[in-house]
């Protein structure tokens, strides 16, 4: 038996969470599978849960101060279908799971689950997203990049809930997304690459390249991004192989059931090459 809390408001949810330590249940598409028992029998959850997916006050998309703010319990389908959603995020969500799962799954769930293969997380990190956390003590905003610290591990405090995802709108930005899975839908990523950049007068003024499922967390190589920023596009084209190699050396993937380390390293580097080609109009 497990205690399940069904709060009517966020405030009530925060109370439950802080007083019982109940685990946030935002769609449950991971939890229900991980703790399944057998056909015809309910899952065996090891801790109390607080249901959040029904809270309307956490389901919205709106613009605020140049950023898109997404209520944490908005379903993946609603995020994907919204006109304000950046194309990169739309693409990433579009290749996640299957429609039925996207109708249940939420951004908060994907973030809180903290899988290195979380596709929405990979796209959000490339978009420089941050998240708002709330607790009875107050609210704080942290960069998503810093929020996830390892597979399944975040800095979410015992009394906190994710309430909002804040995605800066990069005017004129260009994005690129590629996911490699065993099949074309409903497959966890072998690896994924999300990129977002801006060019002004043939100069790269902004670049983020996030690699999913190649490290314990979604990976960005800030040093390489810093080096690339300010470079002229033809220069980047010239350094293509070198940049690809730097990425290849920076990632240390693992062998698992879905793929091998060697494959991930090579394919990730190739996909970085593809990003660079897209950027510079090369090849």
């Amino acid at each position: 038996m497990v205690d399940v809390y069904h709060p009517k408001t966020l405030e009530e949810a925060l109370q439950f969470r802080s007083s019982t330590g109940a685990v946030p249940f935002s769609g449950g598409t991971d939890i229900m599978v991980r703790y399944r028992t057998s056909h015809g029998v309910l899952p065996d959850l090891p801790w109390p849960i607080v249901l959040l997916g029904h809270l309307k006050e956490l389901q919205y998309l709106r613009l605020r101060k140049g950023s898109l703010c997404i209520g944490a319990e908005t379903t993946l389908t609603d995020v994907m279908d919204h006109e304000l959603t950046p194309p990169l995020l739309k693409q990433a969500i579009g290749l996640m799971a299957a429609p039925a799962l996207r109708n249940l799954g939420t951004l908060a769930g994907n973030i809180g689950n903290a899988s290195p293969a979380g596709d929405a997380v990979c796209a959000l990190i490339a978009l420089d997203a941050s998240i708002e956390l709330a607790s009875p003590r107050g609210r704080r905003v942290v960069s998503l990049d810093l929020f996830i610290v390892g597979p399944g591990r975040t800095i979410l405090a015992e009394d906190e809930l994710i309430t909002e995802i804040i995605v800066p709108i990069g005017e004129g930005h260009i994005s690129w997304y590629k996911k490699v899975g065993t099949r074309r839908a409903n497959a966890l990523s072998k690896l994924s690459v999300s990129a977002d950049w801006a060019v002004d007068d043939n100069v790269l003024t902004h670049v983020r390249i996030a690699l999913g499922a190649v490290a314990p967390v979604v990976l960005r190589c800030r040093d390489i991004e810093d080096d690339m920023t300010g470079m002229k596009l033809p220069e980047i084209a010239l350094q293509r192989e070198d940049l690809m190699n730097r990425y290849k050396c920076s990632i240390t993937p693992i062998d698992d059931q879905r793929s091998s380390a060697a494959y991930r390293k090579q394919a990730a580097s190739n996909l970085v090459g593809a990003v660079l080609d897209e950027m510079t109009g090369g090849r």
Partner: protein, 752 residues
């Protein structure tokens, strides 16, 4: 895709989700059973202690081998498969105990407390290890891990290789595949008031199930009645294990005297049930300078796993079809089945042919490439032709040998020649590489010389003009009942609405063998024709007088029965009433026996099958340069099915076979770590989804087969047996890389 009308007697129930599968059945007082496994791969001195489990709330019984009144072990060929393990454990899938409780939750809870101990032994997990002279011998009472050895000797290849222009030697490997039917095994067994055990189960061989139950309980066939109910697929995978699941539920029902349900979840199903055999094949193929295959020598090993199941039959088909559809004069083949401690291998759609075709159809392309001959010309030159001889010495003169026609229509339809020239062959000016590939095959229909082939049909005409039909072929979800109804409607010239297929059981129709080997339509359909002819003779003899003609002048068409003139006809209602008044039962029983086949086990020569299905499939692929991902974009398939009875269903079999074959080619693989399967559910064992399915076109070619009473041959297995080499050849033409292992994998670093 063109719209074609399909007929299915179960269409509405299947589409609306109201069809009742085994787990949907419940009976008052029903108990729930769950299996108990042990985390051993190979072990002896097995001991099971159920005391703690039995003390749990709701727990009724913990059954072990000592509770079994009959034989714990059974099998289709050898009685080696433990329905309940006794003393030893030979694989990770062995079931050591059965827990029965009032609810499934209680049964699961109790099962987790059953203590199983044993003395572990070093398992033998690979063919290589099993063949080691010092390897432990897995099958009890045997002196070798080689459980079967088939030989084929035709001519003298050794003498011919020296004179060949080109000799290719290549090794091929195929992987372990799970059938991945929609519905995991399930059974409800109900003790009837008269002592008979009624079985409602998800299995594809009711008669084999009855034999398993009978042996396990030591009760006669007449005390066990196995019903056909809607079933969510089998693909060959619901024989031994599915029967064992029924036998276990039956044991529970017999001991408790109450209905018992045993429903498997996916993990248990994947853990315990037999898989497609992985093969390790070595081929040596010699060609003349013109491209004629002069000689073939091959040695192949199939990992049979811990139990024999149908390994001898699977490997026999590989032997008989070891050279694909090519008439080669000099052939030597040695095909071995090898026991290991892996979860056992058994029947799966294709049955020993997909593995062999994967090798042969690539070798042909390799040979063509090396000799600079077009792959089409190469195939045309070597393929079996009318009145030609197969490698087993069979002369193909009793049916139309249409392989060339089939290949031509596929090639023409897809535009192979032009597209073949456009293949990337490793270079392209964008991110993807394009290729097209083709394969051809012939497939012996039905069981061939592997077993006795016969089928029965009962037509039970009713006095109101309606008709009940039943055959010994089992509805696995493929639509066999509908096909039988269409055949009967055609034979009697009646509206098919008159016909209902009655729910058959092992107590109402004679054992007609199993619904496997693409034999449903050919065997079942022929038995319907025999029974229909008998019924027509019976009716004719009793109504000829009323129709003012002799009984051999009575005809059946347009939903009526006719004499010689338009004025003399009877509706079925009238005719049946007439029979009633004459105290005649409009009942006919027909059996059909397969035509003779022959086989000499020492030479591998004989008339292996009484007829063959000829097939060609052609696939187009794109290979992504950055990731090496292979995407099948288009497939055209042509099959000579003899005669299509239910066209949409024939096409459905083609598309389903291709899709399942794409799974085998690109993504599926049962992963075994130390004999334990690590991808136990469909989240980690990935099969193709709708988004992975390419454009597909099926071409039905019909050459009425004189040895089948309906003219029909079959399509279930031909559809899956040749897509892997077609895709492998396409990948080669795209990338220049030859993949000799399944699933195909292209490393991005190998692409420029």
């Amino acid at each position: 895709m063109a719209r074609i009308r399909a007929y299915r007697n179960d269409a509405e129930a299947k589409v609306t989700g109201t069809a009742r599968y085994a787990d949907d059945y419940s009976f008052p007082g029903m108990l729930h059973m769950v299996p108990v496994y042990a985390d051993y791969v190979s072990a002896r001195n097995l001991a099971v202690n159920g005391a703690e489990a039995l003390a749990q709330p709701g727990c009724i019984a913990v059954l072990t081998a000592s509770d079994v009144p009959g034989n714990c072990r059974y099998g289709q060929i050898e009685e080696d498969y433990p329905i309940l393990a006794e003393g030893t454990i030979r694989s990770w899938g062995d079931v050591t105990a059965l827990v029965i409780a009032e609810t499934r939750e209680q049964a699961l809870q109790a099962a987790s407390l059953v203590k199983v101990t044993a003395e572990p032994m070093e398992p033998v997990l690979t063919i290589e290890a099993a063949l080691d002279p010092y390897a432990p011998i897995i099958p009890e009472g045997k002196d070798s891990n080689i459980v079967v050895h088939h030989r084929l000797r035709h001519g003298d290849p050794e003498a011919v290789f020296d004179q060949c222009e080109l000799v290719i030697e290549e090794d091929f490997h195929t992987q372990v595949i799970e059938q991945a039917y929609m519905e995991p095994e399930s059974c409800v067994c109900v003790p009837r008031h008269d002592g008979v055990l009624e079985i409602y189960g998800s299995m594809q061989h009711p008669f084999s199930t009855r034999r398993f139950v009978s042996s396990f309980l030591d009760e006669p066939f007449s005390a066990i009645e196995v019903y056909t109910i809607p079933m969510g697929g089998g693909f060959g995978g619901k024989d031994d294990n599915a029967a064992a699941v029924c036998a276990r539920a039956a044991l529970g029902a017999r001991i408790t005297g109450r209905p018992v349900k045993l429903t498997y979840n996916r993990e248990w199903s994947v853990r315990e049930t037999y898989k497609r055999h992985p093969y390790r094949m070595h081929y040596k193929m010699g060609f003349s300078s013109e491209g004629k295959i002069e000689a073939v020598e091959t040695t192949m090993y199939a990992d049979s796993g811990a139990y024999l199941s149908v390994t001898p039959w699977v490997t026999w088909r590989s032997t008989a079809q070891c050279c694909g559809p090519y008439g080669v004069e000099h052939v030597k083949a040695d095909v071995y089945g090898v026991a290991t401690n892996n979860v056992f291998r058994g029947a799966m759609r294709g049955f020993g042919a997909p593995q062999v075709n994967f090798a042969v159809e690539q070798l042909i392309d390799i040979g063509a490439h090396r000799l600079g001959i077009h792959p089409l010309g190469m195939r045309r030159m070597n393929m079996v032709k009318q009145n030609g001889e197969t490698v087993t010495g069979q002369i193909l003169d009793k049916h139309t040998v249409s392989l060339e026609e089939v290949m031509n229509s596929v090639v023409h339809h897809i535009g192979y020649r032009k597209k073949y020239e456009q293949c990337s062959r490793g270079t392209s000016d964008n991110d993807e590489l394009y290729g097209i590939g083709l394969s051809v095959s012939y497939r012996g229909s039905s069981l061939g010389a592997e077993g006795m082939d016969y089928c029965s049909c009962v037509i039970n005409g009713q006095h109101d003009g309606s008709i009940l039909l039943e055959t010994g072929i089992h509805e696995n979800g493929q639509g066999s009942e509908s096909v039988m109804m269409l055949i009967l409607a055609e034979e009697l010239g009646i509206d098919r609405k008159r016909i209902r297929y009655r729910r058959s059981s092992t107590s109402t129709i004679p054992d007609s063998g199993t619904t496997v080997a693409t034999r449903g339509t050919i065997m079942g359909g022929s038995s319907v024709v025999v029974a229909a002819q008998k019924l027509k003779e019976l009716i004719s003899s009793h109504i000829a007088q009323r129709l003012k003609c002799s009984s051999d002048e009575v005809t059946f068409h347009d939903d009526k029965i006719w004499g010689l003139t338009y004025d003399n006809s009877l509706t079925w209602e009238e005719a049946m009433k007439e029979l009633y008044l004459q105290r005649v039962a409009p009942y006919a029983f027909g059996t059909y026996q397969g035509p003779d086949v022959s086989w000499d086990d020492t030479t591998g020569q004989g008339d292996a099958y009484f007829t063959y299905v000829y097939s060609c499939q052609c696939a187009e692929v794109m290979v992504h340069k950055h990731t090496g991902k292979i995407r099948v974009t288009n497939v055209v398939a042509g099959h000579d099915v003899g005669k299509a009875i239910n066209r949409a269903m024939v096409l459905g079999q083609m598309y389903g076979g291709i899709t399942q074959g794409i799974g085998m080619t690109l993504m599926e693989q049962v992963q075994e770590a130390g004999g334990k399967i690590t991808n136990l559910n469909l989240g980690t064992y990935r099969i193709p989804r709708s988004t992975d399915i390419p454009e597909m076109e099926g071409i039905i070619i019909e050459h009425y087969d004189p040895l089948s009473l309906t003219g029909a041959k079959g399509i279930g297995e031909p559809a899956i047996e040749l897509i892997a080499p077609a895709i492998a050849n396409a990948v080669y033409h795209a990338t220049g890389i030859r993949c000799t292992s399944l699933p195909l994998k292209i490393r991005p670093e190998d692409l420029s």
